[in-house]
Symmetry: C2
Subunit: 745 residues, 2 copies
Amino acid sequence: MNAAALIQWVIPIAGVAAVLFAAYLTRDVLRRDTGTDAMRDVASTIHEGAVAFIKRQYSTIAVLALVGAVIIGVVIYFVETPDVADVPELAGGPIALMTAVAFLVGAACSMASGIIGMYISVRSNVRTAAAARRSLVEAVQVAMRGGAVSGFLVVALSLLGVWGIFIAYEALVADVTVQEAPFLIVGFGFGASFVALFAQLGGGIYTKAADVGSDLVGKVEAGIPEDDPRNAGVIADLVGDNVGDCAGRGADLFESTAAENIGAMILGVGAFLIAQAAGWPNPEAWIFFPLVVRGFGLLATIVALFFVRGREDEDPMNMLNRGYWATTILSIAGLGITTFVMMQTGTDVVGAMGLPSWLWMFGAGVVGLATSVAFVYITQYYTAGAWRPVKEIAEASKTGPATNIISGTAVGFETTFVTAITIGIALIASHWLGSQAGLLTADGRDVGGIFGTAVATMGMLMTTAYILAMDTFGPITDNAGGIAEFSHAEAGAREITDRLDAVGNTTKALTKGYAIASASLAAFLLFSAYIDKVNLILSNQIEAGTRAADTLLETVNLADVSVFVAALIGAMLAYFFSSLAIRAVGKTAQSIIVEVRRQFREMPGIMDYTQRPDYARVVDITTRAALKEMVLPGAVAVATPIVVGLLLGHEAVAGMLMVGTISGVLLATVLNNGGGAWDNAKKYIESGRLSDVTGVLGKGTPAHAAAVVGDTVGDPFKDTAGPSLHVLVKLLATITLVLAPLFIR
Amino acid sequence: MNAAALIQWVIPIAGVAAVLFAAYLTRDVLRRDTGTDAMRDVASTIHEGAVAFIKRQYSTIAVLALVGAVIIGVVIYFVETPDVADVPELAGGPIALMTAVAFLVGAACSMASGIIGMYISVRSNVRTAAAARRSLVEAVQVAMRGGAVSGFLVVALSLLGVWGIFIAYEALVADVTVQEAPFLIVGFGFGASFVALFAQLGGGIYTKAADVGSDLVGKVEAGIPEDDPRNAGVIADLVGDNVGDCAGRGADLFESTAAENIGAMILGVGAFLIAQAAGWPNPEAWIFFPLVVRGFGLLATIVALFFVRGREDEDPMNMLNRGYWATTILSIAGLGITTFVMMQTGTDVVGAMGLPSWLWMFGAGVVGLATSVAFVYITQYYTAGAWRPVKEIAEASKTGPATNIISGTAVGFETTFVTAITIGIALIASHWLGSQAGLLTADGRDVGGIFGTAVATMGMLMTTAYILAMDTFGPITDNAGGIAEFSHAEAGAREITDRLDAVGNTTKALTKGYAIASASLAAFLLFSAYIDKVNLILSNQIEAGTRAADTLLETVNLADVSVFVAALIGAMLAYFFSSLAIRAVGKTAQSIIVEVRRQFREMPGIMDYTQRPDYARVVDITTRAALKEMVLPGAVAVATPIVVGLLLGHEAVAGMLMVGTISGVLLATVLNNGGGAWDNAKKYIESGRLSDVTGVLGKGTPAHAAAVVGDTVGDPFKDTAGPSLHVLVKLLATITLVLAPLFIR
């Protein structure tokens, strides 16, 4: 067995190691001190609420996924006739079954990682609060380890899932060759997208409805402070943080890693064919490459977690950054090893300038890692309090809520500039580097450029597990702060949880920037995969004589009226979907308001603390309302590409996919960063850094009230619509990949 | 002389008739009663401010246009070498001179129509106020006739300008044939776009800065009512209405009619060649067709203006609608005559289903007119108080400014749905109808489809003069209301001006909907013209042997990485440009606030009415600040397509143009309709139509205060950024058309 075959063992080894490490972290977190009785009491209420939500949400999603699997199976059974099937020998029943099974496995893995991750997250919060009574560093470690359980499970289950189903289909099903198998597992990615759509939508609607609803009914109507235990909506709010940021973002990134692995493997088929024809040592290595890189990313993250340490008086963000840099540097090393081992071209140097192919591809991967670092810092610039944008919004708050909103909108719009330029540079650079690697087909077509963008995406996604750990750090510390407040913990502990909470806000914003950047880089990869899949079908048809020669999908021609109209609809979809998601928050918040009002009215003891509000009922009502409200935007997201494809055909769908991605990525950037900047402008004012001739303008001033308006507006933008757009963009890609045969005309 | 040649005389006749009719309307308006001394006093202050603004703004723009013309001349001189020139015989000097002259003529015509239109607009306001003391119908007629001066001049000067320069170049310059001339006059469109960009940006920044600034410093800081004469910013605010809506929108639609006429003539060349080869009776008619249609539109509008009449107790909107329907019906007749006379194909019927070509094209034109009607009603649904969207925002105001903003954003986003679907249907329908007309080139390529979309655009733009008259009706009645208020006119007069003002708000919103719809329909036409122009150059190169055969621009391939990145940048440009425009409003408003504060401080007599504020100084300061602030967004708009073209080449620019158009159209829709809905939600509450259990929630309630926040946020959206995006979209098209040779690689 040669090195390139040997290195493939990294896939299962890293996957299993990550799962075991997650189990170790779970044990480590669970055996820790759970603090005072009061703390345990609040925590168990949150825990109950979270479990109730998870049960209801995931059983709804499971039902939807089952229905989806059956529909997909039936559609593919009838559509994938021998002349349009990826693998003609499997047309009809077998391919329908394989796609449906892959869909269900993808959905199940995504749900499992979401459920377990959130289960640990809502048990880490109280332990973080308890640790904060003793030590900042320990609190950071508990929260980060609790978060890492999510991170590892998401990436490992996605990796093992894709690998497992690939191996199963390739090894167990006769007729399936290694270059056909990637096309057969796209159902896995679609299953992951499908779950992510509803997990993110439902979670996003829930979390912000609970936040806005309990604020409006408590702070505005009843005049009691935020997070006051008398407000029956408060526990729903704390549950919501976990639901949106942990489960939602986890599903989002599960989908990214799954869909982009599969897309990269499909592109790898092109390289495989070249390698095979040229007699290079390890043709299959080009297909397995994405999974091996991901495995190294997991191993890097395991090591990096031990770098999360520091001094008691240190900025906690520094500790997290230390781990991030460790992950990045180790990932570069892993990337170098993988490209060197797997991308050998025999004795001939085929790359440009006399440099070997693997070196060019390594360069493309480094571009991806650099893009990830760039986005981490860009997001900080736009959403953290130390720089111009947030200060500008805080200044604008002096003249009231209207100027605060106008200024925040201008900042949100502005962030698209650096986002688009960075993505543009990354795409062009990685494409150029890839095109130098010498991957030329027999008819002289270069497939290296697009493969270069895929390698860059893979490079970028190496750090996913770490990023996701930082993200889940957010709700854990947010909850820890809530628990400390609720249980009247010592001032020292509360000071520590407040500091961690502020860091958590930053890490949550970073993750969104990272998710958006990876979605954009991956977009190019995913629609190249779509084009490859369409052409596979078209060549089958041409071979079967049911189609004229020379009708392959060579270009996606925007100057064609159908493509242009589809592109217009794709761009519109981002807005329309966001509109529905934002409106769903408003409707769900209404149902909370009604219920909390009812409790105030019918349980007069709540106000003088003699009666305990019925927290569980609010959680339950919010859950049901959020799940009901997620159906319409979810249905629109799924139906639009199908309708457009049926009406306008396979080339138009590609146009919709590409322009829809551009539109979705930019709008998500606006919503995420605008929302983050509003949030931190409020915190900037609360921390006493805004002043005018009369002195400091802190809490209780009109400027602060104006900033609160901005913060409230930003909430559904950054936590519901923005993250749901990430999922929408990837769903467009996976749905068109799976249903491509339906659109062929 | 046959009928098709004869009908071309409609162009100069309609153009001159419209100018004469505008002169008649001017005389009619100016000879009317100017009301009381107090009215004349305010009016003359507004008039002075407007003149001061116009002088300064248009002399700035004139300088910019001169500099622009020189740069364009120089660039074209060096770039349009014989092998890339449209007309190789004219390469270098002649073509540079012709483009620069066309640019200057376009700029001059646009400026002339803007200046004269606004001059009449600020003289119609006081006469409308005076008429309102006697009769509603007379007031409507004065305002509409004053507005129509702008409408006629804009369309007539654009028509005469394009026709004149076309005839001049074709007839006077040897070497220029009728099929080459359309390419040589694109400079006219660019000149119009260039002026429109700065007129709309400068005007939009000015009007909203004056509005927001004088509100903040007067209402919020000094606690005096809106439109109070003690506020030195109030006159600037009244001037601003004219500057933004009259001069700005006039320049916007001047550009539309000019650029789209030229684009349609370029597409007409394709039809001309087919007609010539097939021996159809009037090949040139296909090129002149767009101008003749426009001429009929002008004639229809002249007649329709006499339909603006009604009873004293009638809704004024009905009177305006009567005229609009008259214009539309007469336009359909004109369209029928024009297509029948000009699109004859000899004795053979070449259209599908045995129907003649002209009938298919007539159908495409009707689609355009229908689209125009659809947008008029769609905009009303989304922005007028009687329907769900505005009511929803008003309801959301009950829970404060944050929910008002969230709800308005959701509505704004939602409006993209029906916009995109309507445009999509119009494009596909007119393309299909056109493709049935049988316009096939020698190599079997169908050019009828794209020509069909051009005919639809021409149909839609037939009503431009009337729409623009309704638009300018807005600032005239708004000003009339201000004058009535200021001069303490009789209650009856004020009641009439208030009713007209409300109607004016609707007509202003309609015009934006119309402008956006025409920009989107035209987009397809304009980038088809770009592709035609690029291919003309490429064929010249291929013929000259400096380029390989088979390298024509057949497709704009989104799957190419350069095209995709350019598309991403184009989509981003809409956001970034809007961000700069919105921020410019904030900065300009600051300079007003500082000046009004100074006047309050240094002129203590203002507060007790013993001292008259220095209105002129505020106008002057606002003007200078607005003109300074328009430079950056203007420069970004002009530079981005050039930089992208230079770096990424001619195909990528086409991608940027198309996706930039999609993004700009959708974002403008969001900003215009969201802003309009916020505005009318406030008016809905003010009219006492919102209530809860405690009774009516009118002026002075927290719900009203929340709605005021939304209205203020919407102001720069709908009056600065949104309309400027219309111009940006068309500027992208004209700039790439003119500079195409620069991007060839």
